[in-house]
Symmetry: C2
Subunit: 198 residues, 2 copies
DNA sequence: TTGCATGTGGAACAATGTTCCGTATATTGG
DNA sequence: CCAATATACGGAACATTGTTCCACATGCAA
């Protein structure tokens, strides 16, 4: 039995073929666009077509429709979280925080369509809220800490509170003017700046 | 033009045929059972079969699937609201209130599956929350007033508050023991009784 | 270049909402 | 009670969409 060929849990047995990665990526990008434009209920066929790929290819990479939704959600969360580090490098802390919160607002707004899926009770989406928190909290924490350290923000702000507060501000004015949420969040940040030099 | 034959909005031009009413009723009953047992996503065919009618008959009475869901919801609300008057006739006010709240708890529990539909964002369900409130509030108000008048309940309880409070108590222990909600509501009612003889 | 594991495309299947229409029946005027 | 007819019925047929399957194509290693 020198070479077990079944049920052997190895790491990554093989790197995926190059074209496979490329197609998977284009499917993910297409799905992101289609979900944004047509809602989460858009048919898988539309996504395949948009990605210039056959149906079978989509299902090879995302065996279930819900896997696609999960992947799009996670990649959006990742992009939003990663933006924090990028902004922190290119702007002073307080500015980075403001810009990132705008970015976060956009994320919440475009992803609000996915809420329908999240609240559907389908167990496939069980892990998404956790992913959301565990990915976004550190990103925001870093921004807050930097701004506090630079004495441009009051200390003692709970990142989780801020995340849900902003999310609620967005979903409050349901179909309203996109600028509204932005302004409200601006107010919130100004409030945080108020007691800066502790 | 002594007899306009189109676009003439009359009252009830004809009473529906007797068998039609009967079948519509059996469809509604079947749908209620099927939704309870298999969830709101149960196929229309299953309901038709259960009701012992053809698919066409279901769609004749409920042109869209959502119409069926709405009808089931409303008839459940009606039944719950009507139960208030019945209980009031057969029990002393405070008892009637307790019994009705138990009934209401059952309603909330069995209808929690419909919440998925209600929160789906489908405009077909827009009016349901309003229907819920406008039908149940008067029912509860009557029970509360009677108990207050009989000096077996403190006054000043807002019916809307009570409705949402109980609903929240139910949905809190999501998949929990059916008795739990009942006990919590019992506590609530005891609390209301406490300051009775104002 | 060759062999094959891997990946691809799309036909085919299954489930389900919805429409259509030939048939059956309740209702009504005689 | 009978015939005429508006009404209602049943279910086949259609449309859409998730999912599976497999003959064929292709990247990759020897």
């Amino acid at each position: 039995m020198k070479n077990r060929s079944i049920a052997a849990p190895e790491g990554p047995p093989r790197p995926k073929r190059a074209d496979a990665r490329r197609k998977m990526d284009s499917v993910l990008k297409a799905a992101t666009k289609v979900f944004r434009e047509s809602g989460v209920d858009a048919p898988v066929r539309e996504i395949a077509e948009r990605a210039g790929v056959g149906l079978g290819t989509v299902y090879r990479h995302f065996p279930q429709r819900s896997d696609l939704i999960v992947a799009v959600f996670q990649s959006s969360v990742d992009a939003c979280a990663d933006a924090a580090a990028a902004l922190a490098k290119e702007h002073p802390p307080a500015t980075a925080l403001s810009l990132w919160l705008e970015r976060y607002v956009d994320f919440i707004r475009t992803k609000s369509g996915l809420c329908k899926a999240l609240y559907s009770g389908d167990p496939a989406y069980k892990a998404l809220p956790d992913y959301f928190n565990q990915r976004l909290r550190p990103a925001l924490t870093a921004l807050l800490d930097a701004a506090v350290e630079a004495r441009t923000l009051r200390s003692g702000t709970d990142p989780d509170d801020l995340l849900v507060a902003v999310a609620n501000l967005c979903s409050a004015g349901h179909g309203r003017d996109p600028e509204h949420a932005r302004r409200m969040v601006g107010l919130l940040v100004d409030g945080l700046r108020f007691g800066a030099g502790s």
